[in-house]
Amino acid sequence: MAETREAEQSQISDPDGEELMEKNAPGDSKNSMLIASDSFENIDIDCVEEFEIKKHKGGLIHQIVKQTSKEEQDEVAKENDDQNSAKSDLSIGEDSSEDQGEIFETKDIAEALDETLNPGNGPISSHITDEDVNSPEWRSQRKHIFIFSDSGKPVYSRYGNEDKLVTLFGVMQALVSFIQVSGDVIRSIIAGEHRFVFLIREHLILVGVSNGTDSTQQVLMQLTYLYNQVLSVLTSTSLQKIYKQRRNYDLRRQLSGAEKFLDSLLNMMETEPGFLLGAVRCLPLESTVRDMIAQSIVQHAKVKDLVFTLMIANSQLVTLVRMKKYYLHPMDLHIIINLINAAESFKAAESWTPICLPKFDSSGFLQAHISYLDEDCQTCLILLTVDRESFFTLSECKNRIQERLVKYNGLQAISDSLRKNSYSIQDCKISDLRHFLYKSKSTAQYTSPELEAPYLTQPEQERLFGLYQFLHQRIHSLSRPLKILYHVGPYETLLGWVTQGFELYAVFGPLVTKPLAINAINKLLAYIKREENRLFILNSVTF
């Protein structure tokens, strides 16, 4: 970093009179459908807040159900029923859990014996089984993620087999409880190139070990996402219930099949800037087309208890229609996008599955009707309701929406937009600007151009992502937050700028000067402003 220069000022103004214009943020909207989130600072507050055991006295889901259900008495009966059935479910699971645990153990011993007896005669899938603490391949992974229960039982490891890592989990658990004894909380350890970040939640401990470009804060955010992913499969209520009944329960029984969601979420977080920004990307569409799609949903899916209806194409939001008074958090939307991306099985048939959106209400499930609207399985429609019995009603809605979108060429417009690249940096007509991320804070949406040369190879793309992580981390540094950062690196010049309305991260060629860069940013804002109706969803549609 010796050859880099930096300028950090609250307001850049230089002798030439060039100045950044803090005008209205492009893509700004007072009527947002997503909960506006600051990309970072919130998370830390969250941590503190959620650290206290939250007592849910009826979450949002409960509220919606209560509003719509007329018979109060029915409700009581249902709840009792609920409790009873849930209890019996759990006890069934428990009996068998013991056997399962034993099987694991004996299997392990057998395997270990087998290995020591016939060292040359390794198992066929040696790639997976050999990946333990001593293998160089395991050690060289850029980011490890571990999840375990507060009694030290392994739940998930990104690489390698959890059962072979029990001693490692033991050490991590010991560290956590050792610090806890003195009434304190372990947050992170930095050892050489590696940072170990701890997120301690009720019953679960998540640890991220990274030697990459992410900061402690960024790893913490990733761990928060993973924790939410676990909740989205189980709900906080059942997590609490499980561990209340049996402290050393093997949670992998409940999570079997969900590991792939954790894996895919981790992979997505390493390439998709939306997680870093706490924002989603919208599919570029003419606003008339987008309105038509939203209206089709409003007209044909006016169903009681339907909370959110969204359409997603290639991880980009096409539209979102919501129930009045209820908003979706970008974090929950990312969980939904991850679910759609990771599961091929939705492409085979209409699906009906429970999903918990932790930011919306972590105590219960929403029921999701998931289907693809076109033959190529590009456009996915997700209907989220609190009514567990409305599959067939929603299925009819889906057919009507589909018919209408075919009739008015809505699906065609979506697939056209997907086929041609979103937009090129050249469209902005700004020389020396290579790439940028622009987040409109009020709508929690972001936009960025296609990746072009020199960012075409994977290592280059990873490096670019690292630059954004660096810029983001410097600007959102907890000890010294910045409004503007101008950074000259060996291969490119970076400019980050955060205002009330937006966050902008821009990457220039290495030879750009400060006045040029400032001029370019002002031009860029004007470009985004011109295109804002296409790039962002500016009005929020409700049922």
């Binding site: 849910h56 979450g59 059935s85 085979a348 009906w352 599955t353 599959f391 299925s395």
Partner: protein, 202 residues
């Protein structure tokens, strides 16, 4: 001729081939390494048996443990259920017995139950005896067949025999109304169900 709608659901351990059987029956296709089902998926298929047309509305449920508690949502009100096991995995046959017990306890009284031993093409790896499974099925009055979604053996036949065994529609009709799927209108039934979602309010 009227079309007889039949609500059917598939149950059984994870990975026994429920989705593959449905895919073979509905689309006559087979996919290796099919991903595990999430929640449940729904498909419909028309089948003509002895000049009567049946419209099967098939709920293909997920076998994974975490979805276990959802199963009643699909088999309650179903007129037929196929409980699937994997002939190469003995434990999957043991859970058939648990499923049958649960169906007898909570399902419609005259539910047609079929037991299907899938993956019968893997004769070398067989762990479950045909005779044992046949005997067990006879005991509980269930249809029994060994299928292979891969080679299509006995898959259409399985559904045909279910269709044949269904009680006559006119006798059944009033009862069926009670177990229709548009349950919102049906207060009595709705009251038996969970409020809204798996999570409980504390």
């Amino acid at each position: 001729m009227a079309v007889r709608e039949v609500k059917l659901c598939l149950l059984g351990d994870s990975g026994v081939g429920k989705s593959s059987i449905v895919m073979r029956f509905v689309k006559d296709a087979f996919k290796e390494q099919l991903e595990s089902t999430i929640g449940a998926s729904f498909m419909a298929k028309r089948l003509v048996v002895n000049d009567s047309t049946f419209l099967f509305q098939i709920w293909d449920t997920a076998g994974q443990e975490k979805y276990r508690a959802l199963a009643p949502m699909y088999y309650r009100g179903a007129e037929a259920a196929i409980v699937v096991y994997d002939v190469t995995r003995e434990p999957s046959f043991d859970s058939v017995k648990d499923w049958v017990k649960e169906l007898k306890r909570n399902g419609v009284s005259n539910m047609v139950i079929a037991i299907a031993g899938n993956k019968c093409d893997l004769e070398d790896l067989r762990e479950v005896n045909t005779k044992d499974a046949q005997e067990y099925s006879d005991n509980i009055g269930a249809i029994f067949t060994e299928t292979s979604a891969l080679t299509a053996v006995n898959v259409p036949e399985l559904f045909t025999s279910i269709a044949k065994k269904l009680p006559d529609a006119d006798v059944y009709e009033p009862k069926r109304q009670g177990s229709r799927v548009h349950l919102r209108k049906n207060q009595q039934e709705a009251s038996q169900r969970r409020g809204c979602c798996g999570g409980e309010k504390s």
